[in-house]
């Protein structure tokens, strides 16, 4: 069964058709590099797959959940890293993560584990998110995704604002998740970096898939991690 199955999906943002009849089918453990010019609909596609948007028309099934009817059930199983960090500015790093862990009914130790995984130093744990640098903020946002061990990772420009070290860390995380059976969709301008991992590239233009192709990482099956 495909992880993502979209047919003729139209998604409206206000009255604007951000997706204009998009077709896409993804299988388990695929890593998809999403390309396309600004305004092509990449972010909208990720938000749709994350269960945040309702298709205006067409059929959309993600992880077996119909996006017209069962978005709430889907949202517990995906991890979305958007443009904005989706954190509460006035709460500290640990408080933010604890909130998300409790909401998802995860044990408290997952919080520390996730923060350690993202190599966030202990001094930062009690600092309000407002005071973090853009890169640190991004790491915390990523920690909220890692925390939940999602089956589908949706990463919107994940490399933006990260230093070299953090980028390598991110690639490592993605590779680990994929080997554990997760599916990943990455929207990125940083082709070279993401291509190493990608099994497929999908180019979106005008809210629909223009082209897609299998990549070397998939065919040669010796991914450089």
């Amino acid at each position: 069964m495909p992880i993502v199955e979209l047919r003729d999906v139209v998604v409206l943002l206000g009255r604007f058709p951000a997706l204009s009849g998009l077709n896409l089918s993804l299988n388990r453990a695929e890593v998809v590099l999403l390309q396309g010019p600004n305004g092509a609909g990449k972010s909208t596609l990720l938000r749709l797959c994350g269960g945040l948007l309702r298709p205006h028309s067409g059929s959309a099934v993600v992880l077996g959940h119909d996006l017209c009817t069962a978005r709430a059930a889907l949202r517990c199983r995906v991890g979305l890293l958007g443009h904005d960090s989706a954190l509460y500015d006035d709460l500290s790093v640990v408080e933010n993560l604890r909130f998300f862990a409790k909401a998802a009914r995860l044990p408290p130790q997952t919080v520390v584990a996730a923060l350690d995984r993202l190599e966030l130093s202990r001094q930062l744990h009690s600092v309000p998110v407002r005071q973090l640098s853009a890169g640190q903020r991004r790491r915390v946002a990523l920690a909220t995704v890692v925390l939940r061990r999602p089956e589908l990772w949706l990463l919107d420009e994940p490399h933006a604002g990260l230093d070299q070290e953090a980028r390598n860390l991110l690639d490592e995380l993605v590779a680990q998740a994929v080997s554990a059976g997760a599916t990943v969709i990455v929207a990125s301008h940083d082709h070279e970096r993401t291509l190493n991992l990608a099994t497929r590239t999908v180019t979106i233009v005008g809210g629909a898939v223009a082209t897609q192709a299998q990549t070397a990482a998939d065919t040669s099956s010796n991914r450089r991690l």
Partner: protein
């Protein structure tokens, strides 16, 4: 479920404790409104005392608009509303959690305002139990309607103007009933304040029920 309610309440209160928006802005605002009413009505001590209940609850309504706006803004800024959705908390728990957080904050402001009317308006308390019970129940009513309408206007472009237009008429019965109950509690008017309290409770239950039913839909679609 209750744990989730407390999780959301705790989160909102903690954010308030850190940012002190309500404390630093809403409390002075409430006191200024009271004082201005004092200036406007000060020619006659009797008029001032007779008007105390109405002035008190009118001020609470204005404060409520500010508190609801703040509560909504917490979730809108930086995609946090998305975070709340992705978190996996039941919408009903979010609704009651946020309602409770607003109610606790408003109740705190009201206690300070009671001090304000005693000081500025020369109010005397005839019945503390009735006064406190009215504050609790009316505050719940205000918070329950406010949270619902806050979610309703969250994605409206002109939400800052639309919220008061919608919220204030809905809260008109709270203004009426709470003022009458206060009249009794302050010994201004011979009415049965507890009957009015019952009406407030009915209003609170009805609107919280509607909120329970509609909140999830609004969070998803509106």
């Amino acid at each position: 479920m209750l744990a989730d309610v407390w999780l959301v309440t705790n989160k909102d209160l903690r954010i308030e404790w850190r940012s002190r928006v309500t404390f630093n802005q809403v409390v002075p605002f409430a006191l200024i409104v009271l004082v201005l009413f004092g200036f406007a009505l000060d020619t006659n001590r009797a008029v001032l005392r007779a008007a105390t209940s109405g002035v008190f609850w009118l001020t609470v309504l204005f404060v409520a608009v500010v508190a609801v706006t703040r509560s909504t803004m917490i979730e809108i800024s930086d995609g946090a509303r998305r975070a709340l959705l992705l978190g996996g908390i039941e919408p009903v728990a979010i609704y009651f959690g946020k309602t409770l957080a607003i109610a606790i904050q408003l109740f705190g402001v009201e206690l300070l305002m009671v001090g304000g009317v005693i000081f500025f308006f020369d109010a005397t308390i005839a019945s503390w139990p009735l006064l406190l019970a009215t504050c609790v129940v009316a505050t719940w009513c205000v918070a329950a309607s406010g949270t619902l309408l806050g979610a309703l206007v969250a994605n409206v472009a002109a939400r800052d103007t639309v919220l008061p237009i919608l919220l204030l008429p809905v809260l008109a019965p709270v203004l009426i009933a709470a003022s009458r109950a206060f009249d009794d509690a302050l010994g201004v008017l011979v009415v049965d304040g507890w009957v009015w309290l019952g009406l407030l409770a009915a209003f609170g239950i009805v609107n919280a029920t509607l909120g329970t039913l509609a909140y999830g839909t609004l969070l998803e679609e509106a």
